[in-house]
Symmetry: C2
Subunit: 400 residues, 2 copies
């Protein structure tokens, strides 16, 4: 008797774990938390411009935006990050209006070194002000055209390792350099990422929840093909967008059996989206999982006063509450309402503090989760072959 | 012989059209384009503060944000709209830092008059500065607590008609008042909406495409349950968010046969999301339709110069192009790449100009499309019963 098969089968957790361990020195992001940050910090201290303009798109900016967006309201940085990502001319003009060119340091970030949006914007900006080593840094792969340009012009460069993909690169110089320049504690960032890394690979606290969540999502992927992050703070809007890229671009793939895979990521912000998408979660088709993210300590205490505005007696129960108490109660009420429904798989992540350590833990944990799901569904988590078609068509159009 | 049935059946286009015509004077939003705007414009001219702070959430803000976001980069308004929507204390503080309280006019918008976020923030702000008729306007239903408060304090009010739901209210005072104050041509807005209204109900140009699109989405709703808007301008980010509320909250319902309905809205921005979600569209599960939105005339001409930055010869084909040409070529290339795939239903909307008329056409058309789909799937498009559970739980928690 002979037996062969080509159908898809979910491997055991132990097999997946072993497969991840095998690639830990091959897929570059795993070891980024272990790097020495001295050279980044030393260089960052030399930048004294007020505006830090990052020219990049996708994986070159989303992680940095996520961390900056999370930290900036709770900290008073005296430098500003401005992101030039889009080729939309109105957008470019609007962002230019936010900076003073002479007081701006430009960081050009592109892994390939030939990203069309990045180079086009860089070309344009360099027609407005002279670009040289005094106001520019390049972050790219070691042999890229961008690095060659920097070397020729004596401009400082930082490497993106070849085995670190854009959407997994936030803990490389891509994220660390601009964040260090404005005063973010990048060692505390890496400490958070390292904590998750060590906990997972040593099968401690974070191993089981992460592995089980991945397994649940994979086992139920055809039933629940939409994965919502419902984050209760506008400071997590950037994180949501980073998650959408990470999840969508990593997992939307054709697997080794030729089957289309892909879980659809959605990012919501509470309480605002209670007045928008929540109705669809509660009464719509049961094809969604929901992960709530709450912040335990907002670093801001604002009290809703009593005695102001008469005539709203039915809402008197909000008086003397802090807004951080109120938003937490709103999150808990929504969580309970969702949990009371049938067939809405739901989990809750609490972030203890608004600091580097905690956002890095969250992000590294999501990168691990993505890697695990990718292994389960037997895809290459780290490439993005589907976006090439459009690039080729564009190039043909523009060259003709 | 007797025959009865309780299964779902899609009605004919003609039946749906008749049903819509029957409700044209009942569902309030249909006739908003016909209103007289004199009183709004006259009052708007009396407001001379620089900062216009809108306190509201969901349907009270999303439409205004969509229009403001669309127009503001192409116009130089000398007043600023700031939206206080969230109970996130860091967010409230950050927005307060953007205004000067003495130079701020407050517009408090809540249909019910007792929205917990709105009243809590209003209470807090009123402890920072005296609120009276010189710096405050109320937009609410005629008999709400908020209107009563305004009447007692001699504060000007504008009505939200009872039969106009929040997410359909942008062409009522909810949107028109703040937009008129900063200098938006609200008559041109209404003219755009009126154009679509008349074209549709007279079965002219916009009737067939809108009806056919709705029918396609409904006939294929179980196969393509995710509807993506891929908008090629950051000026359409607000519109995307407005669409997500409109689509999700209107259509995520249990229908007359007790079946869960709901099409999942997703908003993307090009070219940035070519580097994010596009991979999932191209190679992921075939459960998505994609509507591309392009802007024909960006009102900004920026040219990518030649001769700056040497060493990027392989990208020399971008030199001397304008960014508006480039972003249009990027949109076209992505559209073609998507169309070359099998089983990704795809359509394209072009916006001629960045002005009031065109954004209103787009928005009114989407409201009509939502109404038609709602009729097809036999739901109440205009309520949101699913969000009540969480409100009740919250109230119980806070009162105890």
């Amino acid at each position: 008797m002979n037996y062969s098969k080509n159908f898809y089968q979910i491997k055991s957790n132990e097999e997946i774990f072993e497969a991840l361990k095998e690639e830990v020195d091959i897929i570059g992001y795993y070891n980024l938390p272990l790097q020495d940050t001295t050279s980044i910090k030393e260089y960052a201290r030399t930048i004294d411009k007020k505006y830090i303009a990052i020219i990049g798109i996708g994986g070159s900016t989303l992680g940095t935006i996520a961390i900056y967006n999370f930290l900036k309201k709770a900290n008073s940085y005296d430098k500003f990050l401005i992101f030039f990502e889009s080729t939309d001319p109105m957008d470019i003009k609007a962002r230019l209006n936010k900076i003073k060119l002479e007081d701006t340091h430009f960081i050009v970030i592109s892994k390939s070194g030939t990203t069309i949006e990045t180079i086009s914007i860089f070309k344009y900006l360099s027609s407005l002000i002279t670009i040289n080593k005094t106001n520019c840094t390049i972050v790219s792969e070691q042999r890229s055209k961008l690095t060659q340009f920097a070397d020729k012009n004596d401009i400082q460069t930082f490497d993106i390792p070849i085995n670190v993909g854009g959407r997994f690169s936030v803990f490389s110089a891509v994220g660390l350099l601009p964040l260090a320049i404005i005063g973010v504690d990048i060692d505390n960032l890496l400490a958070g990422a390292k904590e998750i890394r060590s906990s997972f690979f040593n099968k401690q606290e974070h191993y089981e929840p992460t592995m089980q969540k991945a397994r649940f999502l994979v086992e139920n992927k055809n039933r629940f093909n939409i994965n919502i992050l419902f984050s209760y703070s506008t400071a997590l809007e950037g994180f949501n967008k980073w998650y959408i890229q990470l999840w969508g671009e990593s997992l939307g793939k054709i697997n080794i059996n030729g089957t289309r895979q892909g879980l659809t990521p959605i990012g919501l912000i509470g309480p605002v989206d209670q007045h928008s998408f929540l109705q669809l979660i509660m009464q719509g088709t049961r094809d969604k999982t929901v992960t709530f993210i709450k912040i335990d300590d907002f670093k801001e205490e604002i009290i809703i006063p009593s005695g102001t505005l008469n005539g709203f007696d039915e809402l008197s129960y909000v008086e003397n509450l802090s807004f951080s108490y109120l938003i937490d109660a709103q999150a808990n009420a929504t969580i309970k309402a969702v949990q009371n429904q049938k067939n809405i798989p739901c989990d809750v992540i609490s972030i203890e503090k608004v600091d580097e350590y905690n956002i890095a833990k969250l992000m590294y944990n999501y990168m691990l989760l993505t890697s695990i799901v990718g292994k389960f569904v037997q895809i290459n988590t780290y490439d993005q072959p589907g976006v090439e078609d459009g690039k080729i068509i564009l190039k043909e159009q523009l060259q003709s």
